[in-house]
Amino acid sequence: MAKKAQKPSKLDRNRPTSMPLLDVRDLTVEFATRRGTVTAVKNINLTLAKGETLGIVGESGSGKSVTSYAVMRILDRAGSIAEGSVVFSGLDLRTAPESDMRDLRGREMSMIFQSPRLALNPIRKVGHQIEDVLLQHAQVDSDAVSERAIEVLEQVRIARPRERYHAYPFELSGGMCQRVVIALALACRPQLLIADEPTTGLDVTTQKAVMDLVVELTRERGMSTILITHDLGLAAAYCDRVVVMEKGHIVETAQSSAIFKKPEHAYTRKLMRATPRPGVTLRDLLPEGESARPKAVAKTAEAKAPAKKVKGVETPLLVIEKLVKEYPRQGGAASLAKIFAPKPAVQPDMFRAVDGISFTIARGESVGLVGESGCGKSTTSMMVMRLIDKSDGLIMFDGEDIGAIPARSFARLPLRKRIQMVFQDPTDSLNPRFTAARAIADPLLQLGGIPRDEVRGRCEALATQVGLPLNLLDRFPHQMSGGQKARVGIARAIALNPDLIILDEPTAALDVSVQAVVLNLLQDLKDSLGMSYLFVSHDLNVVSMLCDRVIVMQTGKIVEQGPTEQVMVAPQASYTRDLLAAIPHPPL
């Protein structure tokens, strides 16, 4: 590859600053699909001044990512700009030849993506990936390039950059990977940075660190930034102006200080209401006029509730005592290799994923389990669910020591019916070849012991209970929306009238407005069926609305537990305070 000398830029960086850096006029993007042309975004108008930070906010399918791809001209093969113009620094990007675009990308305009781990080449050292960009844009001679790459890594606050230069993405944490992606994007000091959901999937404290870093670097260099996010709070906290998109249209543009105070458009108001925040109840999240409890749920509530209440109140439903889960630190080597190994294998040192935690869940109580990734909350839920075996400690369920039953045999016990789970990803947790009815019927067929001809009726009753329209029962997962799939997952979990449901981030993959509805549904079901919840989440705001008590975990230990109100308002542990502080606060 012949390295080109730094070409004189086609762009004039010294134009009067009154002209916007990016000017998008009447942008319409279309996708050619098998069922004809689909318009993804229509008549988008955007301007971005030099040094300005613009937020584009919308739920999935609103066209916010498509807009940014169109600006960078990295739309899929099927997508094309049908109408409008994109002018960047006086250059019309719609008509620019591909070779010019390639020079612009990475040098004048860069992009960072969500899921940083996937955004990096998994089998190339991160240092080399940064070098690729530097060399491509002839930023530096090839003999000085590795020094320059290390320098760039240093700028994004990566500790020990000289070592990390040789790391592969899988050896770095999610937040670290996102720093590398940012380094990649900023290596050539572009004028425009587009950040597409840069912190989705990262912990709150990591999110804060990453966003602060982006803001600091871009401000320092006078760069313009477009922040694409579904999180209105995040956008309002970090952006000068916010654009709200719905179904491919811009519905509102406003200063971020104004948009929370005086939202103009109904959709903006709906989004705002649905965003979990301190000091509101679950009902407040629902759009105006919809806060009444769904009729179907209310009806079943009366019928079911008394039956469960009769049971004894004196013993808690679940008692966890000094629970421990250890994993060998090294990956389990193949057993055969061990047999043939010359020396007996050294006892590998153990890593405590869950380190002696104790808590209880009363009947009808919902307890939130909060912590950042790797804190052991999922391991705990898996042990309570009896999917994995504990290393030490006690798991008492309704007076029975279920921790002593091996996870393999637990699945066949009648007790299995009484602990059910709702999973994080509504799509991945449904068998793609099962219809909704079949998915809901699955636990009934496996454990329900009810006649086959009654299964359908029971499915329909369950669907009504979770507010799933009956005509959707024969659809496959890919034919349903995220919220509908979440309902199927919930219906499946309550099919056997369990006493305890473990909710593993059940709304993490959903849009805020759908999340609001699902959270309310969960609350209604709990009230009517008298179940207990163990709600596992990283989002304190969401947990605080649904749960009576909150447990905060850090590195396998419980650092704080108590009534929700107390933990949220007067946190005792400094870690809890850090977590609360890291949640983006919109300027109210």
Binding site: I74, F113, L120, I123, Q136, F170, A337
Partner: protein
């Protein structure tokens, strides 16, 4: 990395033990009585029995197995009943012929199929994509003996460009001194360019016959795996960073797409090595496939056993090489090796 290789080497041992047992049992389970065959059609019961004792076939299975393993440890695979030659010698002579032919065919096919697959994926839906599909489908649907005969008919009989399809070298050339057993390599090593030319001209037609047959799996796998990688997020990042097409496609996409392609290559290679009997027949190639088939027809235990054992060992070694290649390409494999 070295530790991973060492571990894999250790894991080979139980594989090999299994292979030896299965080989032994399988050949015993085959229909046909070698004693009867060797006694000839005119022999009476007594004569057959005598031969049976002589061959040791009257002993219990476990004793036969013990003797077989003992011989194996001493590098003795027994003698062929029909030719009287030690099986080890025969395999040693014939295996390089098959291996050279198969490798040559595979490399030919790779050189065509991999770029074709990449192009087909990069320009999905274009004429080159359709060409790739047609060529691959045609290649795999034509039986090798037909392709072989067709090539012989066109290039030897009609055009006369190719020498007579009679083995590895024509009658007037002498084989190079055996170093690797591969005529192409040995003739270069000993500096005999004339022999190199002669053996290459013999190799071309059967090589292409095999190559055309194995185009399909390699091209299709390359295309599918490239398509998957091209749609992945890191390729989008690379494009958004303005990297040129070559870097994106070769350094970013293809290196990641190579893993399944390598697996396919390994499978195709081991499949071809044993299954190219028909090509060996058509081109009178003194390979291991035709040797095994002849032995099988005459219920000649020792060569069949030797053949199956050789193939199994080759297969195991091949898998080891593939695993190591995986580790070279993908650092994640290195970690949990």
């Amino acid at each position: 990395m070295l530790r991973m290789i060492a571990k894999r080497m250790v894991l080979i041992i139980p594989n090999l033990i299994g292979v030896v047992i299965v080989t032994f049992l399988l050949t015993r389970a085959l229909p046909g009585d070698p004693a009867a065959y060797f006694a000839g059609p005119a022999a009476d019961k007594q004569a057959i029995e005598q031969i049976r004792v002589k061959l040791g076939l009257d002993k219990p299975l476990i004793v036969q197995f013990g003797r077989y393993v003992n011989d194996l440890v001493h590098g003795d695979l027994g003698n062929s009943l029909s030719t009287g030659q030690p099986v080890v010698t025969e395999i040693k002579n014939r295996l390089p012929a098959s291996a050279e032919l198969t490798l040559f065919g595979l490399i030919l096919s790779m050189v065509i199929a991999v770029p074709l697959g990449i192009l087909a994926a990069v320009k999905q839906g274009s004429w080159i994509d359709h060409t790739c599909r047609v060529v691959a489908t045609a290649g795999v649907s034509l039986p090798v003996f037909f392709t072989g005969l067709l090539l012989v008919y066109v290039f030897y009989f009609e055009l006369g460009w190719s020498p007579a399809p009679l083995g590895r070298l024509d009658a007037f050339a002498t084989a190079p001194a055996q170093i690797t057993g591969f005529y192409l390599i040995d003739s270069v090593l000993t500096g005999k360019l004339e022999t190199f030319r002669a053996s290459l001209s013999q190799l071309l037609l059967p090589g292409f016959t095999l190559g055309i047959f194995s185009l399909a799996p390699i091209a299709r796998m390359t295309r599918a795996s490239m398509l998957a990688v091209l749609a992945s997020e890191f390729v989008r990042t690379a494009r958004a960073s303005g990297l040129d097409n070559r870097t994106v496609i070769i350094t970013y996409a293809f290196r990641n797409a190579m893993l399944p392609v390598i697996t396919t290559l390994g499978m195709v290679f081991s499949f071809l090595l044993g299954a190219n009997v028909l090509v060996e027949k058509v081109f009178a190639w003194p390979g291991i496939g035709s040797y095994a088939v002849e032995a099988l027809i005459t219920s000649d235990f020792a060569p069949v056993q030797g053949f199956v054992l050789t193939m199994a060992v080759l297969y195991v070694v091949l898998n080891l090489i593939i695993d190591i290649l995986y580790g070279v390409i993908d650092p994640r494999v290195r970690l949990d090796g």
